[in-house]
């Protein structure tokens, strides 16, 4: 009997094996299901377009990168603050003035916070602004051509970090000093003083750059503030329209080892600025004009050429003399981001060393100001009572909260850098409702329209600072990593990882249709009023003017005119003015000369660009088109004969003779 019993047991064995296989198989099946679901959500079929344009700051690349969302495809990189040898931005004579500053030509910048222009608090797709942190500047980029139209330098500033945030109708763009610097009493000029006398001499400024209807920028006024570090900013909206909020840290006013010395105070401040009132003071001629030399560089669209102008003075408002333009909101612990919810009611601070996220109420702030509910005053700036202005504190928000964006359903999303996660919480109840891990250590995050009055709350992009093992490794230096998260449901769902150029600090996104419909496909030749343009091949020529030789050259598929040039001498300075006669979409021509100590040119259809070349060696030097333009692209070449300095070879040129 006994052996038979065992036999029946043995019959059961396969069942156990199958069951255990099934149970083992189940989780991976589920995971597969969710991966397929995610893949479907980010799949943009060949020839189809992404739903959103995403604009990610290039950080230390100095540029602005454009990505499609949800695919994560890299569409383009807009040169802004750094030279770009690819298309001669900052190398061509037409674009070099864009990088002029009071420190001379600066070939590199550290771009940080892009922000789209807004109308009624909603991104409108006309322009995108981006700030430069290192040599304080703000750029305005034209979104019909994806080119930098204007760069304005910010005087009396250092470390332009709390920038370039716009007011709801793009009346102003913000700027501020992250690094306070010594400023003399009379003209705010930087001074030769001992660094240890920080508290005595160092000050900050909050700047408001006015933007007119054509986009032209002008520093309208600067507000003198105590020598703290001013970190980030956002404008009010709805009920809080007319106000702008700036975080500050280092209220300790440390000048060395800030990681310890600037982390002592329990609370630093958010500076609430009544910009509308300040603008009224400025318009009424209040405050004073000081010497504040700065550059404004802009593109003259008539000639596609950038020009620089120097502005000598700037208006400064002193809050100790002008009442009601600025108040300090005490905020725990070296706050980083300051974000205003879509209703304009709540001001959220990312206290990076804090264990809670403080949420201030704009309504309570206004009441406290009315009731003069102050707990002190710093340099004439009233400090409001923390408990009187608080809407609530988000408990257990993760470690190292930095930045918050919003959806259109009353939720806030905050990055926690140290615990490497994004925390979703309810704005009214300040209760955490969901959290999702990120890979790794997110800085900013971005929801399309997520800092405006109208978030398109479908996706969230986490802009992570640390990449490590997320992609195939590329040696010690890695691109940063972004993560696309679906926020349309109750639970956040990770959809996609994609690498990003430089270091994307902040980012913006806008429904693609708003921008796509305004695209310029090529520049009209008839509207090209560049003084060195040629409109047809019979206008091409080579002209000697002393040591300078000007080559007025044209390109069209598939030749240069002229393509044989003689009479150039060692010691000459040759200006190649190249006009691309093409009038067709996506037919740029390139231009490169052997040994030229300069970049190539990449000339868009209908455009004229100039590059200079100083030949140093005798011989015949080839030049050619670098952009595969047609079936006969390899034939698109030419020669320049370079003769000795004392030679008497005359200038001659031609094509096809």
């Amino acid at each position: 009997m006994k052996p038979a019993k065992y036999k029946t047991l043995l019959w059961g064995l396969p069942v156990v094996v199958i069951l255990s296989l099934l149970m083992y198989g189940c989780p991976s099946q589920q995971q597969l299901g969710s991966t397929a679901d995610a893949a479907q959500k980010v799949y943009v079929a060949p020839g189809e377009y992404d739903e959103f344009y995403g604009f990610m700051s290039g950080g230390y690349s100095g540029q602005l990168s454009v990505y499609g969302i949800p695919s994560g495809r890299h569409l383009y990189t807009i040169p802004v603050f750094s030279q770009e040898a690819t298309n001669a931005y900052g190398y061509s004579e037409e674009s070099k003035p864009m990088l002029n500053t009071t420190h001379g030509f600066v070939p590199w910048g550290d771009s940080h916070h892009p922000e789209l222009s807004q109308t009624d608090g909603v991104p409108d797709g006309r322009w995108i602004f981006i700030n430069e942190n290192n040599t304080p500047r703000i750029a305005r980029i034209n979104l019909s051509t994806f080119t930098t139209d204007e760069i304005i330098e910010i005087p009396n500033s250092a470390g332009n970090h709390a920038s370039s945030f716009v007011t709801p109708n793009t009346e102003y763009v913000s700027a501020a000093t992250r690094f306070s610097i010594p400023m003399d009493d009379e003209n705010l000029n930087n001074e030769d003083v001992p660094i240890s006398e920080y508290k005595e001499h160092f000050k900050g400024t909050l700047s408001f750059i006015k933007v007119n209807d054509e986009g032209k920028m002008e520093v309208d006024f600067q507000i003198l503030v105590p020598g703290f570090n001013y970190d980030l900013s956002h404008s009010g909206k709805g009920p809080s329209d007319g106000w702008a909020f700036f975080t500050s840290y280092n209220s300790e006013q440390a000048h060395t080892l800030l990681e310890v010395n600037a982390s002592k105070n329990d609370k630093d401040f958010i500076a609430a600025v009544n910009w509308r009132k300040a603008a009224e003071y400025a318009a009424a001629g209040e405050g004073r004009m000081v010497k504040g030399k700065h550059y404004r560089n802009y593109v003259d669209h008539n000639t596609h050429t950038s020009k620089s102008e120097v502005i000598e003075e700037v208006r400064v408002l002193d809050p100790s003399e002008l009442e009601g333009i600025i108040y300090f909101l005490p905020t725990p612990k070296s706050p980083h981001g300051v974000d205003v919810d879509p209703s304009g009611q709540y001001i959220v601070a990312g206290g990076k060393l804090s264990t809670v996220i403080p949420v201030h109420s704009f309504e309570k702030m206004e009441q406290a100001i009315e009731n003069e509910d102050f707990e002190g005053e710093i340099d004439g700036i009233p400090v409001l009572n923390y408990d009187s202005i608080l809407h609530g504190e988000v408990e257990n928000p993760g470690l190292g909260p930095l930045h918050t964006e919003f959806d259109d359903r009353g939720n806030a999303y905050t990055t926690a850098f140290i615990s490497s996660e994004i925390v979703k919480w309810d704005l009214e109840t300040t209760q955490v409702v969901d959290r999702i891990a990120t890979y790794y250590s997110p800085g900013h995050l971005m929801i399309p329209g997520g800092d405006s009055r109208k978030p398109w709350g479908k996706y969230l992009v986490s802009l992570n600072k640390i990449t490590k093992d997320r992609y195939l490794p590329t040696g010690p230096e890695l691109f940063h990593s972004a993560q696309l998260i679906d926020i349309s449901g109750e639970k956040m769902q990770l959809l996609l990882d994609f690498p990003t150029e430089g270091e994307p600090h902040y980012a913006q996104a806008i429904p693609a249709d708003i921008v796509r419909q305004n695209q310029v496909k090529f520049y009209k030749l008839e509207d090209n009023n560049h003084p060195d343009a040629v409109k047809a091949e019979d206008e091409t020529r080579v002209v000697r003017d002393g040591n300078e030789v000007h080559v007025y050259m044209s390109t069209i598929r598939t030749h240069f005119a002229p393509d044989n040039i003689e009479g150039i001498k060692v010691g000459d300075k040759v200006y190649f003015h190249v006009t691309n006669l093409e009038q067709d979409w996506d037919i740029p021509h390139g231009f490169a000369v052997k040994g030229m100590n300069n970049s190539e040119l990449l000339v868009m259809p209908g455009e004229t660009r100039t590059i200079t070349w100083e030949p140093k060696q005798v011989g015949v030097i080839p030049f050619y088109c670098t952009d595969f333009c047609s079936a006969l692209h390899q034939e698109m070449q030419g020669y320049v004969r370079v003769s000795p300095r004392n030679s008497n070879v005359e200038i001659s040129y031609g094509t096809g003779q």
Binding site: R557, Q583, D584, W585
Partner: protein, 193 residues
């Protein structure tokens, strides 16, 4: 002629005014590199790109295969056509006010002959452009000519050329049909009498 027939005849003549504003023929070119399309519209007095830059780009493409440049200013037909159409309109109106059935028929026959001559001329012009090629052209395909079809589509290297009447043509056709109807109905009226 009956009053309503005179009015119809005047309308037939005036329909031709549209030819000064609307293209009579269209040549569209399709190729993978031109997702946005490229092509020409032929008017009685000019040839225009479907987009302003198309004529320049078609001439640019054509130079690879040695076709002559299309220069509207040097095409004689584009100079003759506007006065001829003006003549048709004026004579059509004259027929409408003072003419009779026979005059209507004479006008119609003249119009039809003119249309036939026009189409033949257009074909010959296309033939010349497609066959009379520069021997120094970069791209020479033995036995290949590039005459676009008079009507319909034809593959020319990487392009598919589609040639079709455009809106102006249909105005002219309506004018022709309407004047034909006038002649026919007028004939009926005569028999009824």
């Amino acid at each position: 002629m009956k009053k309503q027939h005179r009015i119809a005849m005047a309308v037939a003549a005036l329909l031709l005014v549209a030819l000064y504003f609307l293209p009579i023929w269209s040549i569209a070119l399709e190729a993978p590199q031109y997702p946005e399309g490229i092509g020409l519209d032929i008017y009685i007095n000019t040839i225009e790109g479907k987009q302003p830059q198309d004529l320049q780009n078609i001439n640019g493409l054509n130079h690879y295969i040695g076709m002559k440049e299309i220069q509207p200013d040097s095409i004689a037909e584009l100079k003759y056509m506007p006065p001829i159409i003006a003549f048709l309109i004026v004579t059509g109106l004259v027929v409408a006010f003072w003419g009779n059935k026979k005059w209507v028929l004479a006008w119609l026959i003249f119009f039809i002959l003119l249309a036939i001559v026009g189409l033949v001329d257009f074909y010959l012009w296309e033939y010349d452009y497609g066959h009379n090629l520069d021997p120094n052209a970069a791209i020479k395909v033995p036995g290949m000519t590039y005459q676009p079809p008079l009507i319909g589509s034809k593959a020319l290297l990487n392009f598919n050329a589609i040639s079709l009447p455009h809106t102006g043509f249909f105005f002219a056709l309506s004018s022709m049909v309407l004047s034909g109807l006038v002649w026919w109905r007028e004939g009926k009226t005569d028999t009824e009498k």
